[in-house]
Amino acid sequence: MRIKDVKYLRFKTYLNAYCPHCNQSFNVDTINEKTLDFKAVYKKKKIDLRLSPYLDVFELEASVPVEKGDILDDLLCPYCSKSIVKKDFSCKECGTKAAEVIISADEKLIPFYLCLKYGCEWHGLSKADEKKIKLKIPRQDMPEQDQTLRIHNHQEVPYGYTSELALLEAGRCIQCKNPKCIDGCPVNIDIPGFISLVVEEKFDEAVKKIKERNILPAICGRVCPQENQCEEACVLGIKEKPVAIGRLERFVADFERKMELVKVPIINKNTGKKIAVVGSGPAGLTVAADMRQLGYSVTIFEALHETGGVLTYGIPEFRLPKSIVQFEINYLKEMGCRIELNHIIGATITVDELLENFNAVFIGVGAGLPTFMNIEGENLGNVFSSNEYLTRMNLMKAYKFPEYDTPMPKGENVTVIGGGNVAMDSARTAIRTGSDKVTIVYRRSRNELPAREEEVHHAEEEGIKFRLLTNPVRYLGTDDNRVKGMECIKMELGEPDNSGRRRPIPIEGSNFILDCDLVVIAVGTGPNPTIFQSTPDIKRNKWGYIEVNPDTNETSKEFVYAGGDIVTGSATVIQAMGAGRIASNAMHEKLSKIKK
């Protein structure tokens, strides 16, 4: 849908008004201004009358001065000269006669009334009518890179909203009295609050409103699964599509960054206490920012040579540009957080040693251990874990090989095992390396794909094939030990399992061979044991994830907190941030009671 075709009505709405008799448009569009032009009769003289087409301004301008409170005798169409005053109808506010025009909203024509009393702002629509019309504004899509072009580059796919689209989308929010979206957000952003600021075109204030709860809006706006969180709770979603909260979040964050409006917040007086944050992913960054702002001195320890954790090594450039991640991390540096790269906690320094120098430690190391399926041929060449594949491509920038030294894994016929976001990321990365064919092999059906619908949609658009209800049994290799194909078995869906999804059951004897020369295994990750080898007193559950007190996120070791994937297993960026928030609140509360 083109923007100029969209007819809508909202605060700041641009009205397209038509004569009820001759159907001519009252809208006049010049370079300098947009107006609705009428003829009127005032004190028995014919005058010209101009009305702002914007619903909120709604100012009248007349060719002869009209006093406020004066009443026009008549209102006429300038084309057919017929009176448009509605008989037997009056303004609901002041009782004056009212004129009827036809406006189009969401391609529907509805009557709209203008009070003839100059200065009366009644516009003939009740709040209920307004809401009804708002519901009819379709959810706005983000403009994005053409699918045939984008598979040849690694640039970001969606361009993001323009301010026009953002206003349109924000106008859909009906500002519920009892907003459900806030509860749907793991960090409880005041969503209606920031959206109403967008409506008022106060984009910089809108992003500040978000940043009260979430320090990484540019990232969350891009990678949060809003459809399972805030947008799932949006009441508009019951009948229509929910407000595109994530896209608006992304818009205001990008606006702030691009307009260079980012300001370092005021930091509280130094508490004299020190916090060590292990891991610079979303959980760690949240804790670092929170604690720094509260006046703690904060040091972040990162094992790799680049900060950002999964945001850097896992999520590809075309979904989350690394410049944005680094921008957000620079913000933390400007706040005064120290960052120590190449520090593997558990190896370079142990948690116990950190506790000697810091008042508290937060562990947010993620779940970085790749899972394999332990089937024959998994160690063949060109069979990668998604971690390795994406780390090569994203962290090591192998897609720029040989400008960068890490070789780029490349196949003509690539198969990705798994159905999550990581599988989509891997497949979409592969298609960008120039592979002829990229296939996703998933053991359940399309309905059970755990990836975000948006990602699946993008993958389909980019020509990625889906082999659903299929599971690999073994990999076949060439003489020089590279993968040349895989034996698969077809699956059918049985009863729902613990995850609530229908359990896939292999169909006996349905085996077949699928040719491929590169395989990426994206079937999940587990906890990396490195940090625990030197700290066995941090209690972990049977899967190896850290056990914490859910109210404080403190571990069994006092003053050691944890959050994110290392506690919950693979989850989302915003959930990790939410966990970080719980930990930083608890840390602050506990440390505040302790004298230095």
């Binding site: 040579h305 320094i349 790749p370 780390t391 960068y404 030294d405 890490t406 590279r482 490195t530």
Partner: protein, 274 residues
Amino acid sequence: MFQIERKQELAKGTIIRFDLSAPKIAKKAKPGQFIILRVNETGERVPMTIADKDEFAGIITIIFQVVGKTTALMRSLKEGDLIKDVAGPLGKPAEIEKIGTVIMVGGGTGVAILHHVTKAFKNAGNHVIGIIGAREKDMIILENEMSSICDELIITTDDGSYGERGFVTLPLEKYLNERHDIKLVYAIGPIIMMKNVCALTKKYEMPTVVSLNPIMIDGTGMCGGCRVNVGNQTKFCCVDGPDFDGHQVDFDELEKRNSLYLKDEKDSLLFSIK
């Protein structure tokens, strides 16, 4: 940034020793462990075994053979130059205890690592027999250091230009035949050497530890690129190793996995020369 405190060419300009200033790693490093380094912004992450350390001076030593893009680049660095990233110490340390007599077998640059572990075995009170080999005389490294640690030291060269002629397996077999107090063989070197050593010691049912050096990226257990087949189980060399029971390792698979990027390596080198 990590400064190169000292650079030394050990053999014909192809085997080079760096002393790097890395105090935190030096404090923790144990024999058998390794680091991951990245020379510059566009560099790859390369694992290098820690060949020695000086905790008090905050120095770790790495010894490498110039084989590809990164090592060629490293050769061009001078004393005082900086290496962008060094992370470690990684991997499990070698298991060192007093067990009696051990034979330490090293080939090529493997001797560099072997030397660090040998020192630890000697300090633990073992009787240490060293066997080190190389292609030719000029490629023998750390001879003096090894001879000062080892109770007995045998040197072999493939072409007979120095020491005994032939592979390290010849003197090893002789020892295994003649001495019956040997408790352990520890072998570090080219895959083919470790494979042959293990084939030999298996005949004598002699426990043998090897230190593997597969392709790695992060070195912290995250990518799984370094997976090796040990006793039909997939192990991650970076976190489960690098030391493994040599009789369980599938060396053929390891060799093939390590040669996956030979063409890319060449392309990368050519690109850098251009």
